[in-house]
Symmetry: C2
DNA sequence: ACCATCCATCGGTTTTTATGATTGAATATA
DNA sequence: TATATTCAATCATAAAAACCGATGGATGGT
């Protein structure tokens, strides 16, 4: 049973004529005859009584007509599947990005797409990438070097700069410029040990043949900022995460004699995945 | 979009495998691939993500799956159209048969098929036959000579005998035998003027070169029976219509020296009409 | 009685669908 | 790490079907 045939049947029933339906649907009249006959054969029941040169629905035909309407209605709804924005969206995100970037945007998304069942799973980068390869996540939002995995595609990337920070009362705060080796005489507060910031910081220290003194590890950048204001520690964080304390002067960005350390805040998903309208909408939210 | 394809899609989704679905449905695996692809093309949306060697429904695929279930469910219902007994049944019937035969049967039909919208239209034979030719009636129930119209078919026929009747107190009641010419000295009570009984009666009179004295015309055979018991009139009626008064002796059947006058109680419908289960059921009721 | 209209039928053509074998990639196994 | 197995996609080919145009029979109106 084909939807095209159902269409034909419906128009024939409505117009009470094979010929008129054929003209309207741009079929040969013989085609309409055949379609109806095939439908009748498939159902095992006559749909029209052919009495003289006019036709009329049989009892079965009348009932099947309503079925046909139902089906075409469903098919019509199904035609809009590509634009519908409801369903499940499973997002993996790094803890730092969840608190630093995503949380602020979520309310807007929830109000714009209330019918999306949003499932946000926090995790470390390696775990998230493994999950997306298993198609257990629809996309991941993380900070890292540009992706090189051929199975993944980057749907969004934004370069971010990592900056050295101290509190306004810190001795270094007033220095016009600070050397790298000088920096590493201080204690650092860092975010997660496996994150990009810590990795870059460790590399820079190693290049200076310095050893990072056992740093304090705190996931929340807000807490780090507070601690910096009060104390004598330094931090190495993405600029966007401390935009507010920098602008009000409570934190100071140190001018360091080293090429800027950059990395990417990015959205990745599996290369073979379909980018659903929901996913699309979420991407637009982020960008 | 074909129901076969929907079936395939459903099984693929349920089994999470093209190959398994192909085996189960007795298709080549390449056929399943093609069917799914064609479905995706028709909907303009991918239904499965092919990641590695395993597949999983996309968001659109999940939603379409429920649509597919709905459609196949409707199609399944439609498959039983040939056996369903609900809908409209339009019956044309002669007044005499309606009161004499049909009324007694209707309650049984109503309880057996409560979902049938039964439309009983009373009318004269010529009108009814015209209506059935226009497909304004599904069947007619009438008494007449055997049908000769090539457009109509007889679905049921029962030979009935017309008998001469008088009341128990009538002078002729005790006669062993009565001649035709003797009969026509009496007054007759008849049913409708265009009916079979009256026609036959008139013919018999003509053959005897007698003139029917202006007969009393009453449609109800019950009323005629009552009048016969009390009075001096005769009647010419189908035997079945007076079975009760004959058996209890209040009416007497006259033994007349003439070949028995027979005619047919019959059900006719248009030859090209589909005999629906409802109509079938009604026929079984009558027979 | 004639004409126009309607649906069924038929043969030929085109389009669609199904198949089997093969390929390439991913996963399990040794 | 190498090998075997499994899975879906692809391609060429064969089968099936859908479609069309012409024709014919029957009907209904003029």
């Amino acid at each position: 049973m084909e939807t095209r045939t159902l269409h034909t049947f419906i128009r024939v029933a409505e117009l009470q004529s094979f010929t008129k339906a054929a003209k309207e649907l741009d079929f040969a009249q013989s085609t309409v005859t055949m379609q109806i006959r095939q439908l009748e054969a498939e159902l095992g029941v006559p749909l029209f009584d052919r009495i003289g040169k006019r036709i009329s629905l049989t009892a079965a035909g009348r009932k099947f007509l309503s079925h046909a309407y139902e089906i075409t209605h469903i098919v019509q709804k199904a035609g809009a599947l590509g634009t519908q924005t409801d369903g499940v969206l499973r997002i993996g995100v790094l803890g730092s990005l969840l608190f630093g970037k995503l949380t602020a945007l979520l309310p807007r998304f929830r109000t714009a797409y209330p019918q999306v069942d949003l499932q946000i799973k926090m995790g470390r980068a390696a775990e998230l990438l493994e999950q997306i390869k298993q198609n257990e996540l629809d996309m991941v939002y993380l900070s890292a070097d540009l992706n090189t995995d051929p199975d993944l595609v980057c749907l969004y990337k934004q370069q971010e700069e990592l900056v050295f920070l101290c509190g306004a009362d810190h001795p270094l705060a007033t220095h016009r410029s600070v050397s790298l080796s000088e920096l590493f005489e201080n204690d650092f507060i860092v975010t997660e040990r496996s994150g990009v910031c810590f990795g870059r910081l460790r590399r820079l220290a190693a290049e200076q043949n310095k050893l990072l003194r056992d740093p304090l590890e705190i996931d929340s950048t807000a807490v780090i900022a507070t601690l910096l204001k009060a104390g004598k520690d330094l931090a190495f964080l993405p600029a966007y995460a401390v935009a507010q304390p920098l602008s009000d002067g409570s934190l100071v960005r140190l001018s360091v004699d080293t090429p800027p350390e950059t990395y990417y805040r990015q959205v990745l998903c599996h290369k073979d995945r379909w980018i659903s309208p929901i996913l699309q909408a979420f991407l637009e939210l982020i960008s």
